[in-house]
């Protein structure tokens, strides 16, 4: 029994550590600022970072294969701009939302194909995707376009109250992230597709020799990231009720940081989406703590995230060394 617990700790050390860090930061914040102890603050983490969570989930799967997706922020901007303009022109929300998903998946698949068949490095290919997506967003509209569509407004302004917690609520869009998280957990742990992702990240050549559909999975993983980015964009545009080319600048970096802090290695094959969840929550908590402080400016978030990423990597390498010795 002890042996089993030991093994569980070693294999999942990264994620557990992230969980512990999250709890620590959250409770420290609660001690410093008593108003932070309200349950709503916890749910606000999910509300405010719903897009980041979605994008980070897609990013996790891509990074698990040893790749990277720099285009996510651009896709969010593109989706928001395109949605805003289309909704303003009177197109129904029930057409716009699926269309955005199609755009996300299409762009993702295109990048995946360029990476796999044209043998372009993921960094460069998704960088191009970023330029293209954000570039198209700028072309669609250079200024912020407000969304006045009824469906969007309804979703954005209708709180869903949480049972057992008085005066605490979330929005419908907040649920999309956790739902995709469950989907991602299912995919990564219970499907051949997910296990192949881990195989590719572990040793791509071996995966090919083992007869796994490496090419197909690699393209699909980028399509999945595109899907998550599109969902993130939809959620973003609902939350802010606007479309703007300059939305979500730098979000790809926040997503990568969250994934790395959550224990997924950039080399692939190691890590999981649950860790990413905590990585995102840590990011949100830091922002909250700074907001509650009020005096420290937002750029402290950046420094804090930087330090945390550094610590997370340090912890990861310690675990890696321990694993090798055991």
């Amino acid at each position: 029994m002890k042996h089993r617990i030991n093994r569980f700790l070693i294999q999942n050390g990264g994620v557990l550590l992230t969980f512990v860090v999250f709890l620590t930061v959250f409770f420290v914040g609660g001690r410093l600022y008593p108003t932070m102890q309200k349950p709503q603050v916890f749910f606000n983490l999910f509300i405010n970072d719903s897009s980041l969570l979605l994008v980070a989930i897609g990013m996790t799967l891509v990074i698990l294969t040893g790749g990277i997706d720099l285009s996510v922020g651009g896709v969010i901007a593109l989706v928001s701009a395109a949605s805003a303009v289309m909704l303003k022109a009177g197109v129904s929300a029930y057409i716009v939302m699926p269309l955005m998903i199609v755009i996300g998946v299409a762009l993702g698949s295109l990048m995946g194909w360029i990476i796999q068949d044209l043998k372009v490095q993921p960094f460069i290919a998704t960088l191009m995707g970023l330029f293209f997506a954000r570039g198209m967003a700028y072309i669609i509209t250079l200024t912020s376009v407000p969304i006045r569509n009824e469906v969007y407004k309804a979703i954005a302004l209708t709180p869903i109250y949480i049972p057992f917690f008085p005066k605490t609520y979330i929005y419908a869009t907040t649920l999309v992230g956790p739902i995709m998280l469950l989907v991602a957990v299912y995919l990564t742990y219970f499907t051949r597709f997910g296990r192949t992702i881990y195989a590719i990240g572990s040793n791509e050549q071996s995966a090919m020799l083992m007869g796994l559909p490496v090419r197909r999975v690699k393209v699909m993983v980028y399509a999945f990231s595109g899907l998550c980015s599109a969902l993130g964009g939809i959620v973003f545009s609902i939350s802010l009720l606007a479309g703007y080319g300059q939305f979500a600048t730098g979000m790809e970096l926040d997503a990568i940081a969250a994934v790395v802090i959550g224990g997924t290695a950039l080399t692939g094959g190691v890590g999981n989406v649950i860790g990413t969840l905590f990585g995102v929550l840590i990011h949100g908590t830091i922002v909250s703590v700074l907001q509650f402080n009020g005096t420290l400016s937002s750029w402290w978030t950046r420094i804090a995230v930087g330090i945390l990423t550094l610590l997370a990597i340090g912890a990861q390498s310690i675990f890696y060394v321990r694993k090798k010795r055991s």
């Binding site: 570039g135 250079l142 390498s317």
Partner: protein, 364 residues
């Protein structure tokens, strides 16, 4: 010793294709607008007689990117990457602004003193402080990568994210305007009719060339980038080689920050050098250095940066609205990527007779 014809060596060197790309864009410009190349001489009240025209602007405005690309080349050649150069630019600019500013901190001060054309610190100290700051950032990155064994993308990501925060910290969150006119000389001044920034770039290129080709550092960088294990087995201190590369990159970033803040007369922690790292990586790739590391060429990367900048100027010149620049850049990346992709290389190789050695292992 093997002597190839000068032309053949030129054709096979890394600067060939970026140069060709640049010439193509220039020719394109000339066709669309024959006045594109017009160079004039004007008498400027502050800086005297100097050349002006599109070509001059390209080099003057493109100088920071050229510098960053030169620095980035060494890092990429060791098989790494430096995402923090934009942040280094911001930090360097912030340092300059803060050291000049007589109103360090939040002290209440009259507008007159604030906008005075004077500096709190001598210019030479400012330059040294800037360079030191940049090199220290490079040292930080280099230590994380070489000693901490952290992947370059993640290691430099940390500074990229935290660095802008640090820049904001230095300027106390404000966008600082600089009023000290001698500082403006770097980005706006002229020597012998040509912009100062070009001289700086050439100087850095020469320094870089001497450092890597007149010593064994260049050879070691290429070795480490191709096969770090073999480099170690051959007695090369690959840790220090990588450290050097990152420090040089930080150094170049600092100079770029100096020129940039001098050009715009201000330091803005949020926007200085934004997206420079991506453009710089693109310039290095265009210059023929592989992202996996190995052979590199500083001049080729500089030319790559010029190509990117010329492309930008061309797009504006064509009347394409500013908001379409990014999308146009995506097409540029696509073209570069296709040209350097495996398929294209093989396709082009069919047209150029190359001598082949025995490429196959004949036994296990």
């Amino acid at each position: 010793m093997n002597q190839k014809s000068l032309f053949k060596r030129f054709r096979e060197s890394q600067i060939f294709w970026p140069l060709v790309a640049w010439i193509i864009i220039l020719v394109f410009n000339a066709i669309i607008d024959p006045t594109f190349f017009r160079l004039g001489i004007i008498q400027d009240p502050t800086y005297g007689k100097h050349l002006y025209g599109n070509l001059v602007d390209i080099f003057n405005n493109g100088a920071p990117l050229m510098l960053v690309a030169i620095g980035m080349t060494l890092v990429i050649a060791t098989g790494g990457i430096d995402l923090s150069v934009g942040a280094v630019i911001a930090i360097s600019a912030a340092m300059g602004a803060v050291l000049i500013n007589p109103a360090l901190g939040n002290k209440l001060i009259s507008n007159e003193i604030l906008t005075k054309n004077a500096t709190n610190t001598p210019l030479t100290i400012i330059i040294l402080a800037d360079l030191l700051a940049g090199t220290l950032c490079g040292l930080w990155n280099g230590l994380l990568v070489s000693r901490g064994k952290i992947q370059p993308m993640v290691a430099t990501l940390i500074l990229m994210v935290a660095g802008r925060g640090i820049a904001q910290l230095i300027t106390n969150g404000q966008i600082m305007t600089i009023y000290y006119s001698p500082y403006f000389w770097f980005g706006n001044g002229y020597i012998l009719g040509l912009p100062v920034s070009i001289y700086i770039v050439v100087l850095v290129l020469i320094i870089g060339w001497v450092l890597v080709r007149k010593t064994s550092i260049g050879l070691f960088i290429e070795t480490v980038g191709t096969n770090a294990k073999s480099a170690y087995y051959s007695g090369i201190n690959e840790k220090n080689v990588k450290l050097f590369a990152y420090m040089f990159c930080g150094f170049c970033g600092a100079i770029a920050g100096l020129i940039l803040s001098s050009y715009v007369h201000s330091a803005d922690g949020n926007n200085n050098g934004l997206n420079y790292e991506l453009d710089a990586i693109l310039a290095v790739v265009m210059g023929g250095t592989l992202m996996t590391g190995g052979r590199f060429n500083l001049l080729a990367s500089a030319i790559g940066a010029v190509v990117i900048w010329t492309f930008t100027v061309t797009v504006y010149h064509l009347g394409v609205p500013a908001n379409a620049l990014l999308a146009a850049k995506a097409i540029l990346v696509l073209v570069v990527v296709l040209l350097y992709s495996d398929y294209m290389r093989r396709f082009i190789n069919r047209f150029t007779p190359k001598r082949r050695g025995a490429e196959h292992e004949t036994s296990n």
